[in-house]
Symmetry: C2
Amino acid sequence: MATHQNAEVILFPKHARQPTQHKRWLATILQTFQEHLVRQGLNLTRQREEILRCLMSADRHLSVEEVYDALKKQDPTLGRATVFRTVKLLQECGLVAEVGALNGRSKFELKADRPHHDHMVCIECSRIIEFQSPMMERFQDEAIRRQGFVALWHRHEIFGRCKNCQRPRRS
Amino acid sequence: MATHQNAEVILFPKHARQPTQHKRWLATILQTFQEHLVRQGLNLTRQREEILRCLMSADRHLSVEEVYDALKKQDPTLGRATVFRTVKLLQECGLVAEVGALNGRSKFELKADRPHHDHMVCIECSRIIEFQSPMMERFQDEAIRRQGFVALWHRHEIFGRCKNCQRPRRS
DNA sequence: CCGAAAATGAGACTCGATATCAATTTCATA
DNA sequence: TATGAAATTGATATCGAGTCTCATTTTCGG
Ligand SMILES: [Zn+2]
Ligand SMILES: [Zn+2]
Ligand SMILES: [Zn+2]
Ligand SMILES: [Zn+2]
């Protein structure tokens, strides 16, 4: 467990942050969002802040519906449309990224200052494993350059069975 | 143009096949499909053959709607549902693969005996560039092994601007 | 031919996501 | 603080890709 060589990237490792550090990190991200909004003549509203906080405090990838359900409890007036709109804003300013899921329901993760990584998706338990492979990215960049392509983003998802879901299948 | 070192993978290079070769290739794929169907107690119908032929003769990635529109002309009774059902069958037997597109409309390509490749998608003209990177695949395999994951398939798509769409953007 | 099983196509339906719009909130300005 | 234009919200309607239903038609072995 101590060999972090092959360690799975942990989503939002709150436990690895001092409370004060975490608070500062949170404030920084909120500010990033606000700056993006102000740059477009928009406001950081209560709802927008709630949604960003929800994504920041999650320890896994969430769908819009999950964010909506979670916040609806403490703010019954919240509307679905606002969550969709806000997540789109967060994507535009680079704070949030879409992680396509199996069923047509997209999930989202906070990018913020986290390093780039790709995903393995378990088709049994829907678990999402994040991983990094600098070599893979390097050869990807090379392929992009060879094509004269200008890459803006990429989506690299591997589907299969995770370590826990490889028991003999039923039926 | 002769240096195939960096050559883009051409989709369905008919020009590179002798007519007789092409005919044989076509027959082989049809037979593969039929064998898969028979194995499940299903029949190779006129509609199913038409749809597979359409995908085989295309020189680019098609959506279900595009296949439907193309075939509707020569067979006005064809229904959308049949195209969806057939494409799903073709995916199940490994002849066709889904290539996720920008907008929620999926596109499909004939896998058949073509080597594995990944895709760059131009967000301006929707062109899809196929490329191969054995080194990338190699390090991907390594990452998969490290996680104890069992990979069934993967989707690696790079979004950006192709060589032809890098002019200064309007407005 | 016959008949069970498979296949089809029209249309209803699902559901994630978007568009509309009246009512509310925000914020710069006075 | 008051004002009003602009932004925001949420209820609702709408969209659209894909699926489901089911009555009718087709297939194919016997
Ligand atoms: Zn990557
Ligand atoms: Zn799993
Ligand atoms: Zn690949
Ligand atoms: Zn292009």
